[in-house]
Symmetry: C2
Subunit: 748 residues, 2 copies
């Protein structure tokens, strides 16, 4: 039997053998350990499929939201837990010998013999003498533990352990009569943002019979498998709907015990997803970063529905099990996603736009609001505004329309007025608030500071005004396409509300007070505190440029395109010494901040005001300085935010962008210089008939960030934009690059 | 045993013996047969408690919505059915001998030996030889059938019979093992307005064992009780939540078999409710009408929760059983109730305001919208606008505040913008519509005719604009009281939107077209069709005066108060020959229409523009000509609308009104001449500490409709209004009446 175990190990190791760059497939480039030095709880992932319900990985710091989960510099693994999502966590386990410390069961480990891949994690628990391997299907965690001690093999399933920032309540565990499984449930207590409990059901099946150890009274389930001469295998099926659901998920996805097969399938699964974009040229580090970026873009948002699309709805007073038609997701807000996921997903994974739109429409049906950051089947009111407006408009205009359009539009309209989601301030503690300031926005055309009786966070009126203004434009685009003329007119009017927080005297966007006067004192950045009053995790220096839908209107406020470009350029120059990120995480003193959403369109602004070469320059600078690190100590600068920074970085590397987040009626790609010689995007034939679209960059060299000329499908192309429709029809964009700007090209 | 039956009958008959006027208590004045010549299905009531879940009564025409139910001129009773509510009906039964026609089981009856009371109905089924008596508790129908035939006694429970305008589906019936009960359920199929099924559970208990007859396959349950020498008693407990709920309701409310006791309790129950207002003087007919009015005001809206306040929520994809804290109601829209129920209920039944507010807030929690006409646990989108705005504002300002104020305000704000309840057009067939025109209202300040892509009925922009404008003012009052200043400011601005449909050229309110121009041709009434374009079941002649919150603003549009009074007076003069109602039911050709809500504040308008004596005159004229009939052939003029016309008529008889529907921050009663010498209102001490408030009318005589002078709590009172607060503190309003107007009194 030992022989079999060894064979198995060989099989996996051959999958992850050292490969030459030429031999590598997309998934081989992924490095899950990038920027794991100080991650937030849901950041790290190893044994997980795309948007997997199960995300099984070691936690070195399991009980905090920030700076937690798997941290590269930690010396001990505290547990392996199965859920790492937006406001959700659960089911920590630990294998150890009978003689091991069952109270403090953490174990030392070393990166030396650790293997960390997309879909596979192997680590030696030194204190326990256990080699642990993890893989997964979408909804089943698969563990292989090779115990080396001659002692009995124990396993802890710690159902009551505090995870992230919530307690785990009501542990339920039953050893099945055949002793080959433990079944039960555990309930996530409320967090500050997810106000209601959320229950997770599990079925943990073993390949050896287990004996209960102790009374499990405190929720710490301990079992003994006796002395083992072959690895212990455990399959843990999860479900948020019922124990039956967990059994069903386990049965449907993993009916056998071949661990290596699942590792291989997970590898193939990721390759299918990541391989939809193929790159040639570039450095190994660039490829590593690019595919790790793509991988991130398909991770942190988690499936919460069963194989049959059943999901738990917690929007009402009781938990309801609903039957969906597509997968249902749990995710942090799409705040700022117009400059990342909204652009990336429709290119090669358009079905995701349909899926997420469907999740949001279902929540509207269930709870009356299209959500912003749904978690645990309910609203979390994270951040501000209604980022769904740009998401839906992008989905519609890029041809992903498998969702209830009337319901979505009704819900988005509701969100755009008092009582909708925008009116809910960030993380508000009460369900009814006016912290979003929609009455003010409707009445005055801006949101002032310090709204009386409002509650919640991020009650930062200038930023709210600016984001609402863009979101109004997005919804107006959708309204126009749906032939809802009056709504379009109304929203288009409001889309110019950004002008109401422009202070011509100082020449920056500036918060207004309740009496309408400007907030005093004013500075484009604020070094007095962590946040600048009026701006969300940011400052005027950044939000002043948050007008993606009307940058030329903004240029008029500045007096001219040149004046605006000069100001923006000076922001970038000031931010360059600190790598375009907020120093010490202090967003409010940044001139540019590429570690947080509000700034993430800034480098691309120049193209839209007649200076494409300046965007080409600053985008490349940001990519190189902010997003190029492929070590555990950098790469995303602290908060990758469920694939948003990954998607942005990937777009920069490909040389594509969309300033309006795809929400325009006729969406356009912005063209920039890719770092690869060739980028090939395989189109999904269910949506886009063109087969593939290729970007070729001639005369590629490290400093050659400037586009000299372009051909689109063989014809000379002199715009810095080209239509998404052209892309979707397949073809080639061929760019000539050079070290000096061609200030004629692309100007309009 | 025969002896016992006779004794029982004597007891009931003594309760309803001929009484002198002096002996009569309030309930003795009630005549359920008033205006039953052409009722709608839910109009007639006999064996029913206030807002009873069970409303058991004979149907002579059970399968239509209009001109149906119990019709005075019909010769046959088709069945006794247990539910007569807004879009709900159910459980028809019929006693008959074994030899009777079980297929067409209707029976002749005569009014001669019929006794019809509030809470009791006795009728002889001539074809069946059965004397049927009906009474009820809140949730249990109680039947006493005295069979005269020597034949076996049969009973049909027809679970599949079409009722009102819906089919009855999925009949379930089980004869209990002891043969003393049949239990089961039956499901109301959808109606055009209530789109989802609604299931009702029943337990029918008998005092004799029953044998099944036939196979019940088609849902027609027939049982045989054999030969009876004493009456058959049947208690039918209903519930909308579960069979268990029906059992629980039956047990809690009716654990014995004493029919007469229940009749007595029902009688006492009604007396407690109706006796909260005592009148002296007036004619017998006036008292009959007054107490029948009050009785109507507490009828048609039906309790749908169990004794423990559990109710069915159908707002989502599945039916959910929710636990409420107060009773939950099913009701036709409160459309226009600002001039009837909103004024009447707070006077003596303030707890109702809390109850109905709570029902509406619960629906907001459950389904995302404060409803307009909830039925079957879901929305019906009947009529237009958001009448809840005036209802909640009245409840708040009159001191009934036992509901979630933040949730209510959030819901009402949501309703006041696109995506809320106002945006749902009348009876729309789709859940997502813009028929309410809220985007237009927000964008333009009015709702035009023929909104593109809109669906549903009553898309009548001028009326929508006018009602929204008033509702904005109501919500602004509430916002101000809740210290929501910005919302108040925003809504107060919108409250003047009525001016946007005023055409100064023609001097009437007039619909606008999509391009903003006036609809052509124009006439204040429209004899071309049933409805005038732009006005809801009405015409410009009526809606022009629908500005309850700013009648002096309207007078300015007219040029002067005198000009406005003259115009309104001319409307009344034109309408007088047709008793102030729409001739042949054609609302669109009426100058005044007291058979439908939009006109029901008109006669009271004069007081507010400096001519109280004209209101005194026309209110009395309307009361006498439109609402005084106490025969089966008149009284409410066709559509009493669940107590609205009753409440209005009662208010006119008492000489009280409130033009703003109580929604003002400092609500005022309008004073008019009562028809009674004395009206005493017992205040509910849980809300109003004053004990009672009395209105004394000196020099009462048929023509003396004019107030000469007034004293409020002994002090001379020269305003046509007095504060609700004064009323709630208890006291006396003493009026001197006369046959000629005192044009000085009350003018302001």
């Amino acid at each position: 039997m030992k022989q079999l175990a060894l064979t198995t190990l060989v099989a996996v190791s051959s999958l992850f053998a050292s490969l030459t760059a030429e031999e590598k497939t997309p998934v081989d480039w992924v490095n899950p350990q990038i920027d794991t030095v100080k991650p937030r709880f849901f950041y790290f992932s190893s044994a997980c499929r795309p948007f997997g319900l199960v995300n099984l990985s070691p936690d070195t710091q399991p009980d905090k939201t920030w700076n937690s989960g798997y941290r590269y510099n930690d010396e001990k693994i505290e547990c392996f837990s199965h859920i790492h999502g937006w406001q959700i966590a659960g089911l920590p386990v630990m294998p150890l010998p009978a003689s091991g410390d069952h109270k403090d069961y953490a174990s030392k480990f070393s990166h030396d013999d650790e293997v960390v891949k997309a879909g596979y994690h192997k680590v030696v628990l030194q204190d326990h003498g256990v080699t642990a391997e993890l893989t997964s299907t979408m909804r089943v965690g698969f563990h292989r533990y090779t115990y080396s001690a001659s002692d009995d093999a124990h396993l802890i399933i710690d159902l009551s352990r505090k995870l992230m920032d919530h307690d785990m309540l009501d542990p339920e565990a039953t050893l099945r009569d055949d002793k080959l499984a433990i079944e039960g449930s555990t309930t996530m207590g409320p967090t500050g943002r997810r106000k209601k409990n959320f229950k997770v059901y599990y079925v943990a099946e073993f390949n050896k019979p287990a004996e209960a150890v102790g009374d499990w009274e405190d929720g710490k389930v301990v079992v003994n498998f006796g002395k083992l001469d072959e690895p212990l295998l455990m399959k843990v099926g999860l479900s948020y709907t019922s124990l039956e659901g967990a059994r069903k998920n386990l049965e449907a996805e993993l009916s056998h015990w071949d661990f290596d097969q699942v590792v291989q399938e997970s590898y193939d699964h990721w390759n299918e997803w990541l391989g939809r974009i193929q790159v040639e040229g570039g450095t190994d580090a660039q490829k590593t970063k690019f595919y790790t970026d793509l991988w991130h873009a398909h991770l942190g948002r988690r499936t919460v529905s069963d194989v049959d699309n059943k999901y738990a709805d917690n929007t009402g007073s009781e938990t309801l099990i609903r039957q969906g038609k597509r997968p249902h997701y749990n995710f942090d807000a799409l705040w700022g996603a117009q400059w990342s996921l909204n652009v990336l997903w429709p290119m090669a994974w358009p079905e995701l736009m349909d899926d997420f739109a469907d999740t949001m429409v279902n929540m509207y049906h269930n709870g009356g609001l299209i959500p912003r950051g749904p978690s645990g089947g309910n609203y979390t009111y994270v951040m501000i505004g209604d980022p769904a407006s740009s998401f839906f408009s992008a989905a519609y205009h890029k041809g992903m329309r498998n969702w209830d359009k009337e319901a979505a539009f009704a819900g988005l309209m509701r969100n755009a007025f008092p009582g909708g989601i925008r009116d809910h301030a960030g993380y508000e503690t009460q369900a009814y608030s006016n912290g979003g300031g929609m009455s003010y926005y409707v009445n005055r055309g801006y949101v002032p500071l310090k709204i009386p009786k409002s509650k919640g966070g991020h009650r930062q009126g200038a930023a709210q005004t600016l984001e609402y203004s863009y979101q109004d434009w997005c919804l107006a685009q959708l309204a126009t396409s749906l032939d809802r003329k009056e709504e379009a007119e109304l929203l288009n009017k409001r889309a110019t509300n950004y002008k109401n927080v422009w202070d011509a005297e100082v020449g920056w966007m500036r918060p207004r007070k309740m009496d309408g006067s400007w907030h005093e004192p004013f500075s484009p950045i604020n070094d007095k505190g962590f946040t600048s009053p009026g701006f969300v995790e940011s400052a005027s220096a950044i939000y002043t440029f948050y007008i993606p839908h009307d940058l030329n209107g903004l240029a008029e406020l500045f007096g001219s395109r040149d004046a605006m470009a000069e100001r923006l350029n000076s922001n970038f120059e000031k931010a360059a010494p600190v790598r375009f990120i907020a120093e010490h995480g202090n967003h409010a003193i940044s001139w540019v901040d590429y570690q947080n959403q509000p700034a993430t369109g800034m480098a691309h602004v120049f193209s839209h005001i007649g200076k494409p070469w300046m965007s080409q320059y600053w985008v490349r600078e940001v990519l190189n300085k902010t997003f190029s690190d492929v070590t555990p100590f950098g790469g995303y600068n602290g908060d990758e935010d469920q694939g948003q920074m990954g998607a942005l970085s990937a777009l920069m590397a490909m040389g594509l962008f969309d300033m309006t987040g795809g929400a325009a009626q006729d969406p356009q790609f912005d063209i920039l210089a890719p770092v690869f010689d060739k980028v090939t995007i395989k189109l999904n034939p269910d949506y886009h008939k063109g087969g593939e679209f290729t970007i070729v960059a001639n005369n590629q060299a490290p400093g050659n960030c400037y586009i000299q000329s372009a051909k689109l499908n063989g014809e000379e192309w002199n715009s810095f934009q080209f239509p998404f429709e052209t892309f979707a029809n397949g073809g080639t964009l061929e760019l000539e690059l050079g070290p000096e700007p061609n200030k004629e090209w692309g100007v309009k």
